[in-house]
């Protein structure tokens, strides 16, 4: 996030929520937003599902799943056409206005109305509300990023913010609401194939700096992304997979494919606190201390470094994850893994990236209850709002407006981008974005299928399903297939009847819940439950050309009503491949 989440309560005049179900996935951020609304802030919500926040919004736009770029471009088009953009900001602090002007020319609110039925007047109203606000905050989550045009979606959002000067001031900004406690931290610590904790692996200066601290030269070749791994295993390129603290069998797209791939590994090591679905398929399982049993730091969505305290002792022999890693590194013979407490690792991080973390000692983090990076020295107060000097982190200090176009067929994206680059003479190092749908509904699979979370569970349920007040108290429904009214009517689906959703990748069976909040033609389910995991159907073949991300939020599927016997049969099959060993089939939450 460019800004601090508390500013939603105190400073934002308009909240622009797109692809986020904030009240279910971030209830406390929703609480802060609600405080903002009570103060008088307006709210725009754009989502295929009429969420609880949508029902409280001043403007709600129900988009088809994946229809983001045409809508955002239409808004940008209107803002430029009506001269509602911040000329001072755009002229002085950004590049690329002409590119964007050209790219959005074909996108009008009327086109959106024609293609989706969303009234053009509503698109205009939303664009004007956002553009005219003194401070407007864009908030988004996976409903923007988990598509084959996820990166371009975010280009469009940053275009909106740059055009309207909504950067570098309180209550504004582009704000990804991080779904997991330490997404920001894991990225900043360099747990990425192309980025280290000091910067890009392709940057010789970065590698030199790391060498000066580690004493070892690191590779300059970016590694594989998580989504590439199943293919890389099949190609025989990856032989050894070490998974720690995650459950990719359930959280990665296309479960069956992922399971088949990991079976081909020479060895899979899983380090976790429970015998997860992934751990059950591992060759080595290493236990580790959980949250509450170790200390360290998390980085929240506002880039705030906060302390995590050890409260209880773990079982005998069980040590924190970093200690397990050190034990292994030392046995391999690697130097520089002789830490004896977490703080020593953090102090090394501060040396690796002094610009961000230099001033953030444990003592200070604890005393001040968390501080946002960049914080280069002990006297620096931290930076809750980025870009207050109106300078980007790019070498020329300017913000880039990125032209984003849209292809009717995903195969045409590259050629359309090239045409745009040639036509406008865009330099080769200047980014260009494009969008397209990864899959389109057809006769065989006539429904759009999307996944998401429920407030009472977290991700693959490894932790929350072990907590009775959540699993038994708040979650009274269990796994359900939520369908829009038209799907239910066309297929004779009743509330609580059994149904199976399937596509070419897999199928899941669960009870049906008819959800009037869903846009017509849409099926929604969660990925919390091993017994009915939405990711069995997710698309793992298509990727975003820029980030390598799979379109987890969108695929196509068919749904039909089934008998109780068939329901049990499908559930048993699912159970067999999630928990293949008889030994652990009874280990069920």
């Amino acid at each position: 996030m460019t800004n601090d989440l508390v500013e939603f309560a105190t400073d934002s005049e308009v909240l622009f929520l797109i692809g986020t179900n904030t009240s279910e996935c971030h209830p406390i951020i929703a609480m802060q937003m609600l405080r903002g609304i009570e103060r008088g802030a307006k709210m725009i919500v754009i989502d295929p599902k009429e969420t609880d926040m949508a029902k409280k919004a001043d403007i709600y736009i129900q988009t088809p799943v994946g229809y983001n770029i045409p809508l955002l471009n239409a808004m940008i088009n209107h803002i430029i056409k009506e001269d509602l953009f911040d000329k001072e900001f755009v002229n002085n602090y950004s590049n690329g206005l002409e590119y964007v002007k050209y790219a959005v020319a074909d996108f009008t609110p009327q086109r959106v109305e024609k293609e989706t039925g969303i009234p053009a007047s509503l698109v205009i109203e939303a664009a004007e509300m956002y553009a005219k606000a003194g401070a407007a905050a864009i908030c988004y989550t996976m409903g923007m990023t988990q598509f084959i045009d996820g990166t371009s979606n975010i280009f469009s959002l940053s275009n909106l913010a740059i055009l309207t000067g909504n950067l570098g001031k309180k209550g504004a900004g582009v704000n990804p609401l991080r779904g997991q406690n330490n997404v920001q931290g894991a990225c900043d610590m360099g747990a990425l194939p192309n980025v280290t904790s000091a910067g890009l692996v392709t940057d010789a200066g970065v590698r030199e700096h790391i060498k000066s601290i580690w004493g070892t030269e690191i590779s300059s070749k970016p590694g594989f992304t998580l989504t590439q791994v199943p293919h890389k295993i099949e190609e025989g390129k990856v032989k050894f997979l070490y998974v720690f603290g995650e459950n990719p069998v359930m959280s990665d797209p296309w479960t069956e494919h992922f399971i088949e791939a990991v079976e081909k590994l020479d060895i899979m090591v899983v380090q976790d606190i429970f015998l997860t679905e992934t751990a059950q398929k591992a060759d080595v399982v290493l236990p580790a201390a959980s949250w509450g049993e170790k200390d360290g730091t998390f980085l929240n969505t506002s880039r705030r470094v906060a302390y995590v305290s050890k409260a209880v002792e773990p079982a005998a022999g069980v040590v924190p994850d970093w200690k397990v890693i050190c034990n292994i590194a030392q046995r391999i013979g690697l130097k520089g893994f002789d830490y004896y407490k977490a703080e020593e690792i953090w102090d090394e991080v501060r040396k690796i990236n002094p610009k961000f973390f230099g001033g953030l000692s444990y003592a200070r983090i604890i005393k001040e209850n968390g501080i946002s990076w960049p914080c280069p020295d002990e006297t620096h107060p931290g930076t809750p709002v980025l870009y207050e000097d109106k300078k980007s982190m790019l070498p020329d200090g300017k913000f880039k407006l990125v032209p984003v176009i849209y292809a009717d067929d995903k195969k045409d994206r590259a050629s359309l981008e090239k045409k745009l680059i040639d036509h406008l003479n865009i330099p080769s190092d200047y980014p260009v974005g494009s969008g397209a749908l990864s899959e389109k509904v057809n006769e065989l699979y006539p429904c759009l299928f999307t996944t998401g979370r429920k407030v009472y569970h977290y991700h693959t349920g490894t932790m929350t399903r072990e907590c009775k007040p959540l699993e038994m108290g708040a979650d009274i429904m269990g796994p359900a297939i939520e369908v829009s009214i038209d799907i239910a009517e066309a297929r004779d689906l009743e509330e609580n009847c059994y149904a199976v959703v399937e596509n070419k990748r897999g199928k899941i069976a669960a009870k049906v819940k008819i959800n009037p909040d869903l846009r017509h033609g849409t099926i929604f389910t969660t990925f919390h439950y091993a017994e009915a995991d939405g990711n069995e159907l997710s698309n793992a073949e298509d990727t975003d050309p820029l980030s390598g991300m799979n379109p987890l939020k969108m695929t196509i599927a068919a749904i039909r009503r089934i008998s109780e016997e068939e329901f049990i049969k499908v559930r048993e099959e699912t159970d067999m491949h999630m928990h293949p060993s008889e030994q652990y089939r009874t280990v069920r939450r």
Partner: protein, 191 residues
Amino acid sequence: MSLPKRVNKFVVADPNVCIGCATCMAACYESSHKRGKLAVPRLIVTRSKSGTMPNQCRQCDDAPCANVCPVGALRFADDNIELFEEICIGCKMCTLACPFGAIRAEAEIMPSVNYAMEPKYNLAIESEIGAKSIAVKCDLCAGDDNGPACVQVCPTGALLFIDSQNIDYKLINQKAEGAVESFVNTALRTI
């Protein structure tokens, strides 16, 4: 001499600030579990086309449930409708009589049940042999000095605990003032 003032206490939610986060349901589970009651939530976050809020017993003064209960498991107490779980025979008449859908028949979830094969929200009807379903409704966390747990935990302050002390102010006078205010400001001006 003053007349005794009898108003049943109740919990009610404000849908304008409820975000549907279900924290109240988890708190309710925890409270009933701790107090030795059937461990299920007694208020259910209910989503409708126009909004979301938890739904629970209104503790009606002339409660249909207590009137219809054949065994006296639901009784008129001093300031609420009391439910004696151990007397309940699971006839489900109260669930039909309740005009708010705030009483449900529930059975304890059995550790022996394989929930991967049996969606748990149907247990009231499909419960195992030996697990009798009983009526479940909000008991205002009777026995807990801190009052209803849901009201304490609600992060947006959407849940209100109304008793004879604050009913006038919180629910009636405040709104009356608001109505008068808007009438004076807008309606009267245009007459």
